[in-house]
Amino acid sequence: MTAATIARVTLRRLARDRTSLFFMIILPVVVIVVVGASVGGFSRFKVAVVNEDSGRLGAGIVSALRHSTAIDLHVFSTADAARTSVRRAETTLAVIIPRTTSADLQSGHPGKVVVLGDRTSSSFEGAFTAVSAAVSNQSARLQAAGFAAQQVGGTVDDHLGEADRAAASTAALQVTTSTIDTVRQVLPEGFSYSAPTMLVLFVFINALAAGAGIIETRQLRIYERMSAAPVRRRTIIAGETLAYLSISLLQSVLIVTIGATLFGVSWGDPIAAAALIMVWALVGTGAGVLSGTLFRTPEQASSIGPALGIGLGMLGGCMWPLEIVSPLMRTVGHITPQSWAVDAWTILLSRKGNLVDLAPQLGVLALFAAALISLATYRLGRRLT
């Protein structure tokens, strides 16, 4: 009962602090939007195109690029603008269709498609292959129309329609592509990635920063005054732990609700999700109370705490999927509880896992929580004596 009163007082103090409310409510939502909008589009190559050719053939090449499933096409009006987008890594490469392309092809000369990019950049070769495939498709169509023009007269333009009709009726070699699995091993892109990862990130960061509350209480000698009353040390510790658990749970519920209602995130099996939220809140609780006993001043807790939380979040896959980092960093990342929580959300959201599927991750997180809470309890107990 007394522990609950202590927890209530701590929570009331927090509710009056507008900065904490900003960090608990507004900031996570904004970060979910920004990260959700930015983490995506990894399954297609971003390609810039500039069509300087006013003829039908240039438009045909643009259309072929647009219809490629491997390409996310961005149209630019000048080669300079396209070159800038490549330089700033907004697109992987730029395709320039020169002004004379249609005229060259009509006059029986080969047309030219210029690809601008840095061959040493991360995805140039992949994007180049996708562009080549789209262009060679168009090239085959032009070759057929040109051949028909040679044989029966007329222009390339005149026979493009016939080439399309022939392509539809002629038996041709095909490529059939199929996906062998339907269940993802990584979190989906967009808000379904940013909402669970930001839940993991912010519950931990806010708990660390909220450690400032314990330091302030210590500095104001409130614990000493409490001890003057018939309140046992373990009741005070239980009260503080309860308060931090409530903060972590409250924030988790808030992010889950906002994620589901505003961003359409499906949080998976409710029982497994609730267990994961609970265990993660316990990890946050341990980290928060420990922060209140490790840092000397409230400023240290509220400034170093978030920096530490961001670092651990990066290591643990909250800022980018661990699948895109080196295998060594993926292993190192699993030193952090964040990576186990993100893994658990992946099983829950991508593989539609249940409580049993989550058992190993929940077990590891429970160990983290037990270790952090034990250490925090021990240190807070010593601070109270």
Binding site: I61, S123, A140, V152, E162, V175
Partner: protein, 392 residues
């Protein structure tokens, strides 16, 4: 000669700052640690290359031609291949991610290629490895398109009116054709962006923004302790603000400068060289100075100062692109970044890291940051004049 009052105040603030562990952590240790983390995380991942499994159940002429294409020099730079005897073993390898895609050449492929019902090359992909799947599909498509082109040429000629009795002659003629479209690859004139060259300034600036919070908070702590009152006896409010701003300028420049030096030397980050990097860094620090002064003038208490500073810090970091690589973000977010000084600073460092190291590259960002600092300073000056009585 007497040291100006503002310089004395700045000296005192700096001494205090460098004694404070959290200022040292936020200004120096944290940005360096996080930049190092990012550099390590993305090391070796800056090249897109994958291995594809190949199951050749045909062994005919056409299958051999396909084998030559997927092991050609051009394809090797993006894809390596590994042979499997059975489709089941290749599927298992794909499932366990030993390979990122699988080509299956069906039995009878070569024989059926010229007939009315040609067999298809199959590409197997995984839902989590879509990019590799797309590239594998593109490579196979390029091959079949080349093979189909001659057949399509004959069919089109016949559709256009050529005699169907000339098919053999037409086929012979079509086989000599060259693809009418050439793809010419040219360098874009820029060098590719290293992850560290974006995130080193990104993290440096993000942690620099924290200076707004602890400087503003320090001001109110001094007011509470009576230090400010004692200072007011010897200095005007403007001099106090100037002194504190000077301290932020020195602290911020030292923080950003250390970050540039260490990440350039240890991780190969490209900040554009010392002169240009400084030319971008100083207006950024001046913007932080202006924002600090504004928060001090606007806030009425330590708590308010802390709250405002936090909102400004995280608001600017989120809008400006310090957290996420803005080049992959939607255009709207990229436009929003240009409303922030840090967004302009990051744009300048990005352009320096990928383009020529010229003054013209940074001219616009520097003007934008200075304009921001001037506008914020002007607002602060107006507010300060109004509240001068209460400060003194």
């Amino acid at each position: 000669m007497r040291t100006p009052v503002a310089v004395v105040i700045a000296g005192k603030d700096l001494r205090q700052r460098f004694r404070d562990r959290s200022a040292l952590v936020l200004g120096f240790a944290a940005p360096l640690a996080i930049a190092a983390l990012m550099s390590l995380a993305f090391r070796g991942t800056e090249q897109f290359h994958f291995t594809a499994g190949v199951v050749n159940n045909d062994h005919g002429q056409m299958a051999s031609a396909f084998g030559q294409v997927i092991t050609s020099k051009e394809v090797k730079s993006v894809m390596a291949t590994r042979s499997y005897d059975t489709e089941a073993s290749a599927r298992a390898a794909l499932k366990h991610r030993s390979v990122s895609a699988v080509f299956v050449v069906p039995s009878g492929f070569s024989q059926s290629a010229a007939g009315a019902h040609p067999e298809s090359i199959r590409v197997l992909t995984s839902i989590d490895l879509q990019l590799a799947g797309q590239v594998a599909d593109s490579i196979a498509q390029s091959f079949v398109t080349q093979v189909n082109a001659d057949r399509l040429s004959v069919a089109t000629a016949v559709t256009a009116g050529a005699s169907s009795g000339r098919i053999a002659e037409l086929a012979a003629s079509a086989s000599t054709l060259r693809p009418p479209l050439d793809i010419v690859s040219r360098p874009s004139g820029s060098h590719s962006l290293k992850v560290i060259s974006y995130y080193a300034p990104g993290m440096g600036i993000f942690f620099l923004l924290f200076a707004i919070g602890f400087t503003a908070r320090g001001y109110f702590v001094e007011r509470r302790n009576g230090t400010l009152e004692r200072m007011s006896a010897a200095a005007r409010p403007g001099q106090i603000i100037l002194g504190k701003s000077l301290a932020v300028l020195v602290y911020g420049s030292a923080s950003l400068g250390t970050m540039a030096l260490v990440t350039s030397l240890l991780f190969g980050a490209d900040w554009g060289g010392p002169l240009l990097a400084t030319a971008v860094g100083i207006p950024m620090v001046l913007s932080v100075v202006a924002l600090t002064a504004l928060v001090i003038v606007l806030a009425r208490s330590e708590r308010q100062a802390e709250g405002m500073a936090s909102i400004v810090t995280f608001g600017l970091a989120l809008m400006g692109g310090n957290f996420v690589f803005l080049s992959t973000a939607p255009p709207l977010l990229r436009k929003l970044a240009l409303f922030t000084p840090n967004g302009w600073a990051l744009r300048a460092y990005l352009d320096l890291a990928t383009g020529p190291h010229r003054w013209s590259t940074i001219a616009l960002p520097v003007v934008a940051m200075l304009s921001f600092a001037l506008a914020v300073s002007a607002i602060t000056a107006i507010l300060l004049r109004r509240s001068e009585v209460s400060l003194s």
